[in-house]
């Protein structure tokens, strides 16, 4: 058998395995993810309706800070010990999300520290 023939076959084979694994793993995760998603929407719905209207601005600031948890994705993208296009995108993502994390939590803290009852 000609080894030159073998390589493409192996590559194709490996690729199809990866694709299958990805597709299979993906389908399985999707259901889990959907379950988690729907339950989280319910939790969010009930928690947020209990937020007092006076604190709607801090609510917006803190949800903004919290949504920067997308930094998790950016960190994984930036993770590999090499510099290429995708790690570059990851670093920019990390920096952008960091602005938001620090800025969001600090500005929320600033707002909340102002809400005081009468000092008697």
């Amino acid at each position: 058998m000609n080894p030159h023939d073998l390589i493409p076959v192996q590559v194709a084979d490996a690729a199809s395995h990866v694709a299958e694994a990805a597709a299979g793993g993906h389908g399985a995760f999707f259901l889990t993810g959907l379950t988690v998603f729907v339950l989280a929407v319910f939790v969010g719905y009930h928690v947020v309706w209990r937020v007092t209207p006076a604190l709607h601005s801090p609510l917006m600031a803190v949800t903004n800070a919290v949504s920067s948890v997308i930094i998790v994705g950016a960190l994984i993208a930036a993770g590999p010990a090499k510099i290429d296009f995708s790690t570059g995108l990851g670093f920019v993502g990390v920096a952008l999300a960091s602005v938001n994390i620090f800025g969001g939590f600090i500005v929320t803290q600033r707002m909340l520290s102002m809400f005081k009852k009468k000092q008697k």
Binding site: A15, A22, H26, F29, F30, G33, V36, F37, A40, V43, G44, Y45, V47, V48, V51, T52, P53, A54, L55, H56, S57, P58, L59, M60, V62, T63, N64, A65, V66, S68, V72, G73, I76, A77, A78, G79, P80, A81, I83, D84, T87, G93, V94, A95, L96, S98, V99, N100, I101, F102, G103, G104, F105, I106, V107, R110, L112, S113, M114, K118
Partner: protein, 462 residues
Amino acid sequence: METISTLAYLVASVCFILALKGLSSPDAAQQGNRYGIIGMVIAIVTTLALPSVQSYIPIVVAIAIGGVVGTFIAKKIQMTALPQLVAAFHSLVGLAAVFVAAAAFYAPESYGIGTPGNIAIGSLVEMSIGTAIGAITFSGSVIAFAKLQALISGKPLVFPGQHLFNAALGILTIVLVVLLCTSNSAAVFWAIVIASFALGFLLILPIGGADMPVVISMLNSYSGWAACGIGFTLQNNLLIITGALVGSSGAILSYIMCKAMNRSIFNVILGGFGGEAAGPAGGPGGDRTVKAGSADDAAFIMKNAASVIIVPGYGMAVAQAQHALREMGDLLKKEGATVRYAIHPGAGRMPGHMNVLLAEANVSYDEVFELDEINRDFGQCDVAFVIGANDVTNPAAKTDPASPIYGMPILDVEKAKTVFFVKRSMASGYAGVDNELFFRPNTMMLFGDAKKVCEEVCKALE
């Protein structure tokens, strides 16, 4: 290792839920914010500990740069500029989502969703949803920021065929998503990004300044859904949970704001409200005259009042009058009056805007009341002091079915014995309608900058 990180992410999710739960009362809120910070630290440290994350130094540099910028902005920002700050922060989340999705597209093996050019279809769909929502959040927030910062006109920008064009753009995006799934092509991926950027710009441009509370809440919601989309792509429950929390929070706020202004969300998105009213031609204005008073007159009447209700609006924020206003309130209390503040949910440019400004001026939060808590008390109060608010007090919302604001819940200031309106001029509010309250015999207009008027009243009271 995977078990540990999954559990740590779960703990972080619970922290984020506690952060939102804390906001149910001002006393628990600061503890809530600390939970949020703890959750974020857990999320970041856990991710850094993953074996695939190796390049620590550049990551720390990136976090440091972002952290310094964010800290600086958050410490410097004036509370009156809060709405535009939040809009700017939303845009960053959107952009970060686009970058993460792009990174996943170019290096899918990092996330275990395939190899470059061979990504599972399900992942591609989720990725493109995350990208599209992220891109719309980004460009929409940039426009919202520009409008709030007065870099571009707050008036709605409309052109003929706009809705048709937007719909076409939306359909194009969906077609591109299908194309991406079949082709795995990088060009199509970036086409989705560009089409969504354009869609975000065009969706927010036609929305007027007074609808900004809805827009900001909506973008808040979008930034959450974008995180959700990315969470599905990366198969990460933490992102899904957090995204869903933020998404539903923003959606609820949008709903509350729409209700406060009696607008349907659909109506707001279609835009064009406010601004195009080129002067209330047939309105009750006509040649009727208003009674203008001086700060001395106002001080004299309020000195003799037993109860005063102050109604702040966006005009107070623009004039930065909250401190002078609180000083005036303190002086009135010394004169023996009870002073309370009434806040319309739609006042200002973001939900809760007025509450934050009053808190900044050291007004105790138990003197600040929501519309339904205080509306009945106007009948027994001597003075309603309306500062920089207009539409939210307009009785036309109850009486005139032809008015654009008909049906909007309003503060019944007209029931007070005397009503003061602090306004810069006779210009109508954002809805472009005249307020017939101005012409009533028990109304006195105090023309001038809100801050100056308050300072003058203070001087006269002393």
